[in-house]
């Protein structure tokens, strides 16, 4: 197992140290944070594979801190709570993955949750990257089509000629066709 890095954010020293000790035993590398802002700072510095965050955190609210960490793509957060209420489940729905550990901590449950979370988070990460790439391709294809249309109309040329013109310009200027298309749309609109 590669040495995954996990930030343990818990204001209670006992529970923080316990979680870290258990994780270290399994070969995970751990970093401790005692408050919400501290958890954000470490996450921004190391981009850990996972953040385990106690719901009763000092400083900025744990859910707020977790939201920032996930929104800014610093890591994936799972919560540790001794009180899993329905309000808590509602909050969980907004997170990357629906996973949490219940206190008191049982080692087996912790290991299972951590392994599950890291695996799923990396899968989600890969998928969202793929989607982003596809969306970009789709977006630029739309732009190129539009630019082609504009060129055909303005210069009275065929579709094939318009495409070739775009491609040539893109190669001459050493920028992607997408950029050229954007410029053409701006010019002829």
């Amino acid at each position: 197992m590669d040495s995954y890095r996990i930030v343990v954010a818990d204001s209670s020293e006992g529970s923080r140290k316990l979680i870290c000790k258990l994780l270290n035993k399994k070969g995970y590398k751990t970093y401790q944070a005692t408050d919400g802002a501290g958890a954000i700072r470490i996450s921004r510095s190391i981009f850990p594979e996972l953040v385990i965050m106690d719901t009763n955190l000092w400083g900025i609210n744990a859910y707020e801190a977790a939201r920032i960490i996930e929104e800014d793509k610093l890591s994936t957060v799972i919560f540790a709570t001794s009180n899993p209420t329905s309000a808590f489940y509602e909050k969980l729905k907004n997170m990357n993955i629906f996973a949490y550990v219940v206190k008191p901590i049982y080692p087996e449950q912790l290991y299972q949750m951590v392994e599950f979370s890291i695996m799923n988070a990396s899968k989600i990460h890969l998928l969202s990257k793929k989607i982003e790439k596809l969306e970009n391709t789709l977006e630029s294809r739309k732009k190129i089509d539009r630019a082609k249309g504009l060129l055909m109309k303005a210069l009275k040329i065929t579709e094939d000629e318009a495409y070739k013109l775009l491609r040539k310009k893109s190669m001459d200027d050493c920028v992607s066709m997408n950029v050229i298309a954007e410029k053409i749309i701006k010019k002829y609109r």
């Binding site: 005692t34 802002a37 501290g38 700072r41 921004r44 510095s45 000092w58 400083g59 900025i60 920032i68």
Partner: protein, 444 residues
């Protein structure tokens, strides 16, 4: 950065953007931004100036009998918050009106508008570019803001990451998204101290921008796990945070009124008189440009902050500097204001001082050429150079003697402001500080 939507366009735009919340913002007398948040359904009502709030619940506003206040949104200040991905939010800055439909004299934005109108009647538009400094501190282990600029927990294997620098980069990007034109952003002299400069605008827009800037900086800092503070002097022994004000007057047809190519220094008579007014009233507007007990701990020798009321064309040590640039960039840089100031009131007071100089043809004293930090008392006395107030108390009593500046901020704000400042001063005077304990506990 204004967008000039009409009411209908703005409503349409808000629907298009699927906004959920709109924050109606205004600034209280002490320079704290207040919010009345409404949902999109209430936006139309807000744009019809029908949103009311209880003025007596705001510090230093009004008594309970006259507490119904109306918010009048200034549509040109509509900005969508770029940092909220989950629920889309925007803000509009508002003026405060009384229930009889007249502007409320306790609203700092109205106050600045009043002085700007006076300038306009004289044929001038005030342009202002601020240089706002701030500190980024870490939180302690309990999540409270501390004075630390580095995590004291040692993460041995961590490469030193410049958290402050990254946060500043993010702030710059966010401000750009909000329509700011950022001119420079850099680390300042003291550890953890940063500065972000944005382009000059007319005085009202700049005052709005300063308030927006402070809000954005605080929010982005929090997203980086840092605490941003605009406190003028958070740490003894290192530079404090200033908010230098670069200003110029333009004529109504857009020419720089401070520039005169025929003069040997290329400064116009207007510029000299304006400067004369600033120098004359500097001791009294200090209460507004430096409104906290802490402000005066920044205005001490040795930390690049001005102490003496003098001006120079090149030297950076006195109160006013005239940067070398001429033509349309001809401007005056006032160096004492700090970011704890209410920008609306500070600019109103500074402008009023300058206008007084123009009206009464007040000649400025001769410029100082040597470094004023190295001047001794005798030399200062010979040259007639005074110093800025040394305490908030002194500043408030200077203000009480200056009818021109009092007139700029109006009776209502003057009274509430003075009450608050003196209250703060007396509270501070009663407090026994660590410095006293260290000094006297053993000695006596």
């Amino acid at each position: 950065m204004s967008c000039n939507y009409s009411k209908e366009e703005l409503l349409k735009k808000a629907k298009e953007l699927e906004l959920e919340f709109i924050h109606l913002q205004f600034t209280d007398i002490l320079g704290v931004m207040k919010n009345v948040s409404i949902t999109i359904e209430q936006l139309e009502k807000a744009l019809n100036n029908e949103i009311m709030f209880d003025g007596s619940s705001i510090d230093g506003f009004v008594r309970i009998e006259e507490s119904d206040m109306y918010l009048r949104p200034d549509l040109s200040t509509f900005v969508v918050f770029p940092w909220t991905n989950h629920a889309k939010e925007a803000r509009i800055i508002c003026d405060i009106y009384k229930s009889d439909g007249t502007p409320f004299e306790g609203c700092p934005r109205n106050t600045l508008k009043k002085v700007l109108k006076e300038a306009h009647d004289m044929g001038y538009i005030m342009n202002v570019g601020p240089e706002c400094e701030f500190f980024l501190f870490h939180t302690d282990e309990r999540g409270e803001p501390s004075l630390e600029t580095h995590d004291n927990a040692g993460y041995f294997d961590l490469a030193p990451v410049d958290l402050g620098g990254n946060a500043r980069k993010d702030m710059t990007i966010t401000l750009k998204q909000m329509g700011f034109e950022i001119e420079a952003s850099h680390h300042e002299v003291a550890p953890g101290q940063h500065e972000i400069d944005f382009k000059y605008e007319d005085a009202l827009t700049t005052a709005d921008n300063i308030m927006t800037f402070k809000m954005a900086v605080r929010i982005i800092a929090q997203r980086h796990g840092l605490h941003a503070t605009f406190m003028p002097k958070p740490k003894f022994g290192i530079n404090g945070s200033g908010m230098h004000i670069n200003m110029s007057l333009a004529t109504l047809d857009g020419k720089n009124a401070f520039y005169d190519e025929k003069d040997p220094t290329q400064l116009s008579k207007t510029a000299y008189y304006y400067l004369g007014g600033i120098i004359k009233h500097a001791r009294s507007f200090a209460a507004l440009t430096n409104p906290t007990v802490n402000s005066y701990k920044r205005l001490v020798p040795g930390y690049e902050a001005p102490v003496l009321i003098a001006w120079s064309a090149s030297n950076r040590s006195p109160l006013v500097r005239i940067p070398a640039k001429r033509g349309n960039s001809t401007r005056i840089e006032l160096r004492n204001p700090d970011p704890s100031a209410n920008p609306y009131l500070a600019l109103a007071a500074i402008l009023k001082a300058g206008l007084d100089g123009i009206k009464n043809k007040i000649d400025p004293p001769a410029p100082v050429i040597s470094n004023v930090y190295h001047m001794d008392d005798v030399e200062m006395k010979e040259k007639g150079i005074k110093s800025l107030p040394a305490t908030l108390y002194e500043a408030v009593s200077e203000l009480s003697k200056d009818e021109v500046i009092k007139d700029a901020i109006g009776k209502h704000i003057y009274e509430k402001f003075t009450d608050a400042a003196l209250y703060e001063w007396y509270e501070y005077s009663k407090f026994v500080s660590q410095w006293e304990l260290d000094r006297y506990l053993r000695k006596f």
